[in-house]
């Protein structure tokens, strides 16, 4: 048995130990940093290659960009300058009636746009509502039906609205009905998915309670499921309405009704001040709709919890 070590002896071993462990720690840290740096460089190189390939495919031309980029602010400036009338050449704000000369026509088209969005959201939400019960995984629907409904909803929301609109314009003729139908299809797909995800997150206890007291499937849905999800459904539908107002405002680009047809005409025919006037009307309308629906949504969410 060794005798008791002196106090200073303990100290020296302790410092030697701690020095050794600090060295070990710092070399481990350096190794980790080096590995991270290497990984960072490697992923940076991959990213650079991807960007170069994508740039080549997308015909990115930096020389063209820098020689023409002044046209962009010019364009933005030009849409705020009057191009006809007594005040030709001055800022649009000096002749509001001249700037908004077509306000009656545009407001009518905006009302059409809102109606397209409203009708399409409501009908799309109804379709999505009926579809979601057959797509949810926890309500006892057989797998083949669920699979089919889910693929159908996926198809509806993956094909862009405007593609449906292009096809529907040929089938149903030019006009807002084609736009309404296109947005209905897309809304069904988008809301159907959100709705069945809500359904899959419900509390199962009320469902079990109703089933065990002998209720039918429809009654279980009505009294155990619906009260849990309705607030969320309405909130999602309102959110979709906001999105659809934006969507409906460009439906006119392909002849499917709404303010879009005047907007694209103004852009294509270089009626510069009209472009800014119509865009401002659209932005203001969208902002008001967003504000109103947000209020309503918060009320529903508050009620739901």
């Amino acid at each position: 048995m060794r005798g008791p070590r002196s106090f200073s002896g303990i100290m020296t071993t302790a410092t030697a130990d701690s020095r050794k462990s600090i060295e070990a720690l710092s070399s481990a840290y350096a190794a980790i940093v080096a590995r991270k740096r290497k990984q960072f460089l490697r992923s940076g190189a991959v990213l650079a290659v991807v960007i170069l390939v994508a740039g080549w495919m997308a015909e990115v031309d930096l020389a063209l960009f820098f020689s023409n980029v002044h046209k962009f602010p010019n364009y933005i400036g030009r849409i705020f300058i009057l191009d006809s009338g007594d005040l030709k050449g001055s800022l649009v704000v000096f002749d509001i009636p001249g700037w908004f000369w077509g306000v009656g026509k545009w407001l009518k088209l905006l009302a059409d746009t809102l109606l397209i969005a409203y009708v399409a959201t409501l009908i799309g939400a109804i379709f999505g509502f009926f579809a979601c019960f057959f797509a949810a995984g926890n309500l006892g629907v057989s797998t083949p039906i669920r699979f089919a409904v889910r693929r159908y909803l996926e198809f509806c929301r993956t094909v862009p609205e405007l593609v449906f609109a292009l096809i529907f314009v040929l089938a149903f003729g030019l006009g807002p009905i084609a736009g309404v139908l296109a947005i209905i299809v897309h809304t069904t797909g988008a809301l159907g998915k959100l709705f069945y995800e809500v359904l899959e997150n419900i509390d199962q206890k009320p469902v079990e309670g109703l089933i065990s007291s002998g209720a039918s499937w429809t009654k279980t849905m009505r009294f155990a499921v619906l009260p849990q999800v309705l607030a969320n459904f309405i909130s999602y539908a309102l959110l979709r309405f906001e999105i659809n107002v934006r969507g409906a405002s460009v439906m006119g680009f392909v002849g499917a009704g709404g303010i879009g047809q005047d907007l694209i005409e103004a852009i294509r025919k270089f009626y510069y001040p009209d472009v800014s006037a119509i865009l401002l009307l659209i932005i203001a309308t969208v902002a008001v709709i967003d504000l109103v629906t947000e209020r309503i949504r918060h009320r529903f969410i508050a009620q739901g919890h």
């Binding site: 960009f65 364009y75 593609v163 096809i167 006009g175 009905i177 392909v254 932005i283 969208v286």
Partner: protein
């Protein structure tokens, strides 16, 4: 006597009196709203020129088109090559547009976040500019950029970039505002500057959220990039709208299938990346 609910009339009355609040209609408000909604729907359909005969006629046309779509076909080899190239263009537009938007929006979003901004006036202007950029549709931006850099996919890249600067600016600045203060206080307390606080206190917290938002927008931009060609800004949309206008339904069907497959592959890759980089990234969005 039992009703179809399995309760006798007596039991039902007892239940009704005991749970009066559950049976009572709290207000007639719901009915009024439903009636108003239905009335507006009917007015909307009438105003927009809906008619049953026209609708049925259209459905018949549509059925005809669908029959003509099968079997899908790509025409000749040259046009197949053209479609594949256009699809590559579409993905490239989405990728570059999203990257450019994220690169520009990231520094701006620090200006727009309450806890990192340098002045409230700058913050206000940054936020309002984001709102304006988002308020104008990508297709409108595309039309404007076509005037600047000419027809082609480059205009599409710029259009997606500029409209997503608005979205990213908003989302990124919200993520920065929601970040935890403590790491920032730690960096500042040990003598770090403002930039150090952002680099070592905030960026590590928000990076996973930002990356997952980036990937999410990449997915959604792949969808937008498929239609941007309708206004001449490159990608598969130009080919698709041309085939629809010339009523080449078999080719239309082929292109739609190509789009669906590409979108689902991109979704798959991006979901994988998202879960790998950000864990369960849905938490803070």
């Amino acid at each position: 006597m039992t009703g179809d609910d399995g309760y006798s009339a007596l039991e039902e009355t007892a239940l009704r009196t005991r749970y009066r609040s559950s049976f009572a209609r709290d207000s007639r408000m719901g009915y009024y709203i439903a009636a108003a909604a239905t009335a507006l729907l009917a007015y909307g359909l009438w105003h927009l020129g809906f008619s049953i005969t026209k609708f049925l006629h259209g459905i018949a046309n549509l059925g005809n088109f669908v029959v003509l779509m099968f079997p899908p076909s790509w025409g000749d080899t040259a046009s197949l090559f053209r479609f594949v190239k256009a699809l590559g263009e579409t993905v490239a537009i989405a990728l570059l547009g999203t990257m450019l938007a994220a690169a520009i929006a990231l520094p701006l979003s620090f200006l727009a976040a309450n806890n990192t901004t340098v002045s409230q006036i700058l913050r206000f202007f940054a936020r309002r500019s984001f709102d304006t950029l988002r308020g104008v549709d990508t297709l409108v931006w595309a039309l404007i950029w076509v005037n600047v850099v000419g027809l082609g996919p480059f205009a599409g890249v710029l259009a997606i970039a500029i409209s997503d600067i608005g979205s990213f600016g908003k989302l990124f600045s919200e993520a920065i505002e929601a970040s935890d203060k403590k790491p920032v206080e730690g960096v500042v307390a040990s003598g770090g500057s403002r930039l150090h606080a952002i680099r070592f206190g905030i960026l590590p917290q928000v990076a996973p959220v930002l990356i997952s938002q980036f990937l999410y927008y990449f997915e959604s931009n792949t969808r937008s990039a498929t239609i941007i060609g309708i206004v001449g800004a490159g990608g598969i949309g130009l080919q698709l709208s041309e085939q629809i206008r010339t009523l080449e339904w078999q080719t239309v069907c082929f292109i739609i299938i190509m789009i669906l497959m590409t979108v689902s592959v991109i979704d798959l890759i991006s979901t994988r990346l998202r879960t790998a980089i950000a864990g369960d990234a849905r938490t803070t969005i």
